[in-house]
Structures are given as structure tokens and as C-alpha cells.
């Protein structure tokens, strides 16, 4: 899957869509706290955007995430989740209790900040995993 199967039409369409997809992905991550969405869904949208570019333009686009980077992304994302969760016990609350975080904000905002951090971690992990899955599938195709 080194060369994409892009045509001028696909190329133009994907160029048009890419920034909106990334923006929508980020929106879904950030607003998952009070509306449908969240880290998982946002991560899927961001990964779908990266995969779309690879499908259309192949490796030439330069948007290729090497598997090593995807693994780092996955582990970092999961690490953020567990790390923020463990901040709760460190500051005297329960695991995943964001209200215990010592931030100079209103209680509701502290909770929102904590869950935003967790959602960002989840989004990174999901993006990494989907990139990895795509890589493995593409590799299998190249071997065949």
C-alpha cells in the first residue's frame, strides 16, 4: 500500500475534508463531556482522517505514522488515563475522582478538566490503535 489509489477528484475531495475532519475529531473529544462523543469517538474520527489521506495519496502524503510511533501514542494515551486516575488517590480522593485535583478552579470545572485530560488520553490511544490495525491489514495485503 505504498501508492494510494487517488484520482484528481478523490484528491481534491480529501483535501477539502481533511481539516474539517480533524477539527470535528477534536470537537468530539473536547465536548464529549457534555454531549454525545468523547475520547473514543474523537480518536476514531482523527484516525479515520489519517487513514483517508493514506488511502488516497499513499505514503507520498507524508502522513504515515510508523508503527513504533503508533505504539508510543497508544501507551502514552493509556498512561495519561491511568496517571490522571491515580492523581485521585494521591490527592486524597478515590481512583478517577477528579474533584480531588488541586486546581484553582470551581469544583465543576475541576471535574471537567480531569475528564478532559482522560478523554485526550483515550483519544491518543484510540488513534494509535486504529493506525496500528490499519498498518497490520495493509502489511498483510502487501505480503499477499
Amino acid at each position: 500500500m505504498n501508492s494510494g489509489f487517488g484520482s484528481p477528484a478523490l484528491d481534491a475531495a480529501s483535501r477539502l475534508m481533511t481539516p474539517f475532519m480533524l477539527m470535528f475529531g477534536a470537537y468530539v473529544v473536547v465536548y464529549g463531556h457534555d454531549s454525545p462523543g468523547g475520547g473514543f469517538q474523537g480518536g476514531v474520527i482523527i484516525a479515520a482522517c489519517l487513514i483517508l489521506v493514506r488511502l488516497v495519496r499513499g505514503r507520498a502524503a507524508g502522513w504515515v505514522m510508523p508503527p513504533e510511533v503508533a505504539v508510543v501514542l497508544l501507551c502514552t494515551g493509556a498512561g495519561i488515563f491511568a496517571g490522571v486516575g491515580l492523581l485521585g488517590p494521591i490527592f486524597g480522593g478515590h481512583f478517577l475522582d477528579y474533584s480531588a485535583l488541586p486546581l484553582p478552579l470551581a469544583p465543576a470545572e475541576v471535574r471537567a478538566a480531569g475528564s478532559l485530560a482522560v478523554e485526550i488520553g483515550v483519544a491518543l490511544a484510540v488513534t494509535g490503535v486504529l493506525e496500528l490495525i490499519f498498518d497490520v491489514l495493509v502489511e498483510a495485503r502487501d505480503d499477499a
Binding site: C75, G79, A82, L86, F95
Partner: protein, 491 residues
């Protein structure tokens, strides 16, 4: 941090699972050391938590995740039952991880980090199933452990991949059944918390929807626990997987599903007529499993397959004990969960080690190996004797309690199955022991004595010794742990 122990039992292996792959790219040795460290910490956390639970009068330790009170939030519940199970899972996880050390040294160094990561995820998933007090959270952990197990089991080569794919299909159906079942109960009661659900279900009217929900949950968990006739995925999956994985998965994975079945049927649905019907069905399935598993084990020429079919039979003992529902039978079943995990773990570790060292795994090929690998063979013999159920090993006592329970309930078919299957298991295990110790060709000179490396031998021997000690000192375990793990409706 000690008040956070219930959640640390799950979070420690889960967090380590994401550190290990990063570490493994620099140094595979360091990755394995971190894995062992995390599992040792988990074992310590589980043991300390169990000790604390046993000291309290009511014996229940609830932990609210995120500070959200149940039934809105998820809670982890440690009682003598889940505490004991988590010590068992963590202990066997550590034993099999130590055993995996020498095995992984011959593997591709780039893969060690991934192997350890998946292994830690599997352990975290199983511990999560054990400690959670929320039915949906249980489903999430069921999937985490199952997906990690599929990936690990499939690393044993082409045949392992095919066998695991079948397990994946069957396992997914099982998980879907369970999820659908919870969906019914959630629609009826509006809650997923186990304690809350049991209160609300008792107050709700008996309906077909409850029965369907209970039926789906029982079928889902019964497939996961490989209860006859849902055991089809098990023999191949266990036979072809890499030895450390089989050692751990065969020892605890089906047992954790049996735990979930017991927890749901007695602690959540204790008062439901549908649960009582499910137990009657499971009782007959258990008896069929005891007979079929032992009979099929007898017909195998590969020791790993023989052990796998024997697991089907042993799961039958456990499920049969649960279905009888009297205190003594349930104690027997819980004791058998503990014993079978230790015995089968030991047997699979030794068999895998023998295959790793000599390349043979057939009953005929074991001839004379007792002289080449004396200590491994001793561990195998001890665990095998316990499987047959000879005193003073632990296997005798759990079977004794089960037998007493069956007599008490006047379940004569069950009594006959228990006794008959003990005979059959004596035949198939002594067949192997005979090859190991006396079946050698006396005309050839004794082969060079070359036992397994210490890292593989020590966990197997430790499990064998625990089986013996547990038999000798079974009374404190029964009174202080198992009798306190009975459901409130029974004790």
C-alpha cells in the same frame, strides 16, 4: 494508599501493561522484570486486602470509583470470595510469568514486550472480573481478558491460530449472550450494580423477560467456563498454545468465569425462580461434563489434550457443586476452584516444560522421562495424585466435600459420576505416571539427567507443594475463607 487496595489490584497490572511495550523496545530483560515486579505488587496488594477483609466482622470492603456512590457509580467489592479469587489469580499469574522467563529467552526479543503487555492485560482483566461489583463493568473486563487471551493463545503456531480463531468466534458469541442478558435486566430494573440489582429484582414481578435475561447470562458465562456441552473450544485452544500461556489460562480463566456464574446466580439473582431453574440445568450439565470429560481424557494420546479434557470434567465438578446449593457442596466447589487452579496450572507448566526441553508431548513419549527430569516429574506426580483425589493432597478434600454434598442432596447420579470419574482419572493419570517412572527401556543406559531450568522448575514445584500443604492444612482454609464465601441465602 492502603485504602485504595481494591482498585490497585486492577490498576497496577493495567498500568504496567502500557509501560512494558515501550520498555521492551530498549531492553526486553527490563520489560520482563517490570512485569514480574508489577505482578508481585499485585499479589501483595491482593493478599493484604484479603487479610484486611477477613479481619473485619462483615467481611465486605466496598470501593467507589471516582467517588461516585453506587448504584450510579461503579464499585469494586472485596469480600472473602472475591478477595480469595484475586489472590489465587495474582499468585498463579506470578508463577506463570516466572516460568515464562526461560521460555521467552528463546523468543524474538522484539516480541517479549508485546507478550508481557498482553499477559498483564489478561491478568488485569481477570482480576477486574473478580473484584467488580457492577455487571457491565464485569462485561468490559470479560472482553479485556478474552481479547488478550486470544492474542496470547494464538502465538503457538499455525494450529494454535486456527484453534484460537474458533475460540474467538465462540467466545464472542458467549460475551454477546452475556451482554444481551444484562440488557434485559437493565431494562427491567434500570440498574447495573449487583447489590442494587438483587434488591430491585426481588421487588419486581416475575416475568418472561427476567427469565430470558437470566438464561442468556447463564449461557454466556457457561460457554466461557467451558461447561459441557459448551466446551468445544477448549481442548484445541489449550493444546497448541505456548506453555506459559496454557499454564495460566488453563488454571484460572475458566475458573474466573465459574466464579462469575456463582456470583451472579447466588449473590445477584439468589431469589429468582429463573436462577433456580438455571441451577438445575447446570447441575445436569455438570454431571454430563464429569462423565464426558473424564471419558474423553482417557481416549487421548497427547498429554496436553488429555489435561484439557480433564479440565472439562473438573469444571463439571465445580458447576455440579454450585448447583447443589447446600453449604457443604458449595464449599466443596469453591475448594475445587482453588485446588484445580493449582493442580492444573502445575500439570500444564510441567507438560509444557517437558515439551520445550525434549519435544515430546505424547503419553508414549513420556517413557523414562522421570529419570531425565526427576524434579519436574515429581511435581507432575504430586499434582496428578491430587487430581485423582488421593489423600493427603488437596484434591481429595474438595472431592470429599462435593461427595458429602451430593449424598446430602441424595443426588445419586451425581455420586455415581463423581466416583466413576475418579476411577477414570486414576486410570488416565497413572497411565502417564507409569510411563514417566517405570516405563523406561531398561536395556539402554540411563539418559543424562537434565531437568528444566530453575525459573521453569520453581513455579511448578511451588504449586505442587502448595497442593500438598493445602491438603494437610485444609481445615483453616475451609473455616476462615471458604465458609465465609457462601452467599447470604445459603449460610
Amino acid at each position: 494508599m492502603s485504602e485504595h487496595l481494591p482498585v490497585l489490584i486492577v490498576v497496577v497490572p493495567l498500568s504496567a501493561a502500557f509501560v512494558v511495550p515501550l520498555l521492551g523496545r530498549r531492553s526486553s530483560g527490563a520489560a520482563h522484570i517490570v512485569t514480574l515486579g508489577a505482578l508481585a505488587a499485585t499479589l501483595v496488594a491482593a493478599s493484604v486486602a484479603l487479610a484486611r477483609v477477613l479481619r473485619t466482622a462483615d467481611g465486605v470492603w466496598r470501593y467507589e470509583l471516582g467517588g461516585w456512590a453506587p448504584p450510579w457509580g461503579i464499585e469494586y467489592v472485596l469480600d472473602p470470595l472475591s478477595g480469595g479469587m484475586s489472590v489465587l489469580v495474582a499468585g498463579l499469574a506470578l508463577a506463570a510469568a516466572i516460568y515464562a522467563g526461560p521460555y521467552l529467552r528463546t523468543a524474538d526479543p522484539d516480541r517479549i514486550g508485546l507478550f508481557d503487555s498482553l499477559y498483564l492485560l489478561l491478568v488485569a482483566g481477570l482480576l477486574g472480573i473478580v473484584v467488580t461489583g457492577d455487571l457491565f463493568n464485569l462485561y468490559v473486563f470479560l472482553e479485556i481478558s478474552a481479547i488478550a487471551a486470544y492474542a496470547l493463545l494464538s502465538t503457538g503456531g499455525d494450529r494454535a491460530a486456527v484453534a484460537t480463531f474458533r475460540y474467538l468466534l465462540v467466545g464472542t458469541v458467549a460475551a454477546s449472550c452475556y451482554l444481551l442478558g444484562i440488557g434485559y435486566l437493565y431494562a427491567l430494573t434500570g440498574t447495573l450494580n449487583m447489590a442494587d440489582l438483587s434488591v430491585r429484582l426481588a421487588a419486581a414481578d416475575e416475568s418472561t423477560a427476567t427469565a430470558v435475561g437470566v438464561g442468556l447470562i447463564v449461557i454466556g458465562l457457561a460457554i466461557k467456563a467451558a461447561v459441557f456441552p459448551f466446551h468445544g473450544w477448549l481442548p484445541d485452544a489449550y493444546t497448541y498454545a505456548p506453555p506459559p500461556v496454557t499454564g495460566f489460562v488453563a488454571a484460572v480463566m475458566t475458573k474466573v468465569s465459574a466464579y462469575a456464574l456463582y456470583r451472579v446466580l447466588y449473590f445477584v439473582l439468589g431469589a429468582e425462580p429463573a436462577a433456580a431453574s438455571a441451577l438445575v440445568f447446570l447441575g445436569w450439565a455438570g454431571v454430563a461434563a464429569i462423565v464426558a470429560g473424564s471419558w474423553l481424557a482417557l481416549a487421548q494420546s497427547d498429554v496436553r489434550r488429555m489435561l484439557a479434557y480433564s479440565s472439562v470434567g473438573q469444571m463439571g465438578y465445580i458447576i455440579f457443586g454450585f448447583s447443589l446449593g447446600s453449604p457443604i457442596a458449595i464449599v466443596g466447589a469453591l475448594f475445587h476452584v482453588l485446588n484445580h487452579a493449582l493442580m492444573k496450572g502445575c500439570l500444564f507448566l510441567v507438560t509444557g516444560g517437558i515439551r520445550w526441553r525434549t519435544g515430546v508431548s505424547s503419553v508414549a513419549g513420556f517413557a523414562g522421562l522421570g529419570r531425565r527430569l526427576p524434579l519436574s516429574a515429581t511435581a507432575f506426580a504430586l499434582a496428578a495424585v491430587s487430581m485423582v483425589g488421593l489423600p493427603p493432597t488437596a484434591g481429595f478434600f474438595s472431592k470429599w466435600y462435593l461427595l458429602l454434598g451430593a449424598f446430602e442432596a441424595e443426588a445419586w447420579v451425581g455420586v455415581a459420576a463423581l466416583v466413576g470419574s475418579s476411577w477414570l482419572s486414576a486410570i488416565y493419570f497413572f497411565r502417564v505416571l507409569e510411563r514417566l517412572f517405570v516405563g523406561a527401556d531398561e536395556t539402554t543406559p540411563a539418559p543424562e539427567r537434565r531437568d528444566l531450568p530453575f525459573g521453569m522448575l520453581a513455579p511448578a514445584l511451588a504449586l505442587a507443594v502448595v497442593v500438598l500443604l493445602l491438603g494437610l492444612f485444609h481445615q483453616p482454609v475451609v473455616t476462615h475463607l471458604l465458609e465465609r464465601a457462601l452467599p447470604p441465602t445459603v449460610s
